[in-house]
Subunit: 221 residues, 2 copies
DNA sequence: AATTGTGAAAAGATTCACAGCA
DNA sequence: TGCTGTGAATCTTTTCACAATT
């Protein structure tokens, strides 16, 4: 029993798709749609319908055979499963371009997350107000403001580990890391990394392969 | 034979880890290290050593038993595999906070990528200079500037599909999509999505599960 | 003695295909 | 009839363990 496996066994791959389903369901709900089929939900989420059914059944779902899934009910179900009912504090560390962009990013402020602190070390930035919050230094963070919350690291790679340590110390149990660095954290702390350079490199790989295979005379549509 | 499978069969999961290896190797190289073991490289990349060996062997690697991998040589090998030898043009569409942040993001401008155009529809933004480039409208993009390049979408979700269509029209074959929307593109075009809200939701899920299991009396170190 | 490369085993994820139900 | 839920089949990924090699 490490920190990894999930309570009632929702597979990790399924968890990764739940936000996508929720997004689609939210937009269906806004249009006043009462029910949706796995086929349509799959289409809106960019996956296959069998996948949708498997995923939702692993949640102990409440679809109706011959009809589909109840949109508001399934929304609530997924939001509850994701733990989005309770609002979580977010601390952003590193007030460069990316940090500032995230601080004012609407998608972050909406469902379930609330930016409670902005942090930087640069004295020229500390004390400035960004999007209604005053930038503080790391050591001014109160443990209460970060407990059971999410830390977002948008510092240069060199500072990332130090920041992660401080966040963990301050009670953060989840970290979203934009710095191109591997973080060492206790096993109770979850880290997700978003590496823009890596994403581009992966795209470059596929383009490269495509170029090679067309040069070799494969047909490409 | 769709567009998916890779020339000499480098598994997709492996491709996803190559940028991480390259990052570690680059930093080892900068320190003047001549060789590295799978064990150490694994440690630096946050994976297991067996994984590293499998991954590198699928590249047709050139490690030396009893010694390890030659750092500069392996770097070159991976960079070549990823297609990072040739510089690729990047077009960023959507000059909000995130778009501006990416436009001046160093990690993007370095290895293999070069931002060649910034695009927005807002007349108040078009014509402005950001980071040495003048913001244009979509229709002023020359096909040549985007061909075989990468399009980055940082617009609101509602505009994303339209932008993707235009990028594809303009010759882009890879898209990095930050808008929370599923894009429909021809099968020859590769899309990777970065969804910040989804990342946070996934972290929230794990925190939520952890909270549940501790409440149920599981030990958590 | 140290470390790679790789078959084989195990685990995980996806897809199929159809029984079961409204 | 239409669509879910799921066992079985398939495919992919990870991990193990050890022979091969310097």
């Amino acid at each position: 029993m490490t920190a990894e496996p999930t309570r009632r066994g929702v597979p990790e791959a399924t968890v990764g798709r739940l936000p996508g389903y929720l997004r689609a369901l939210t937009s269906l709900g806004d249009e006043g749609r009462a029910s949706v089929s796995s086929e349509e939900l799959a289409d809106l989420s960019g996956v296959r319908s069998a996948q949708v059914r498997k995923d939702l059944s692993s949640l102990g779902s409440y679809g109706v055979r011959g009809v589909g899934y109840d949109v508001p009910r399934l929304s609530d179900q997924i939001a509850a499963e994701l733990g989005l009912s309770r609002t979580r504090p977010v601390v952003i560390v590193g007030m460069g371009n990316l940090g500032r962009a995230l601080a004012s990013y609407g998608g972050l402020t909406t469902r379930g997350f609330h930016v409670t602190a902005l942090v930087d070390t640069d004295p020229a930035v500390v004390g400035r107000r960004i999007d209604g919050l005053t930038v503080t230094t790391m050591d001014r963070l109160t443990p209460g403001s970060t407990r059971a919350g999410v830390g977002v690291i948008t510092t240069p790679a060199g500072a990332a580990q130090e920041v992660a340590d401080a966040l963990v110390e301050g009670g953060v149990r989840s970290i979203l890391n934009f710095a191109p660095a591997v973080l060492r954290v206790p096993p109770t702390v979850h880290v997700r990394a978003v590496d823009l350079a890596a994403e581009l490199a992966i795209l470059a790989f596929h383009e490269h392969q495509q170029a090679l295979s067309t040069a070799d005379g494969e047909d490409v549509g």
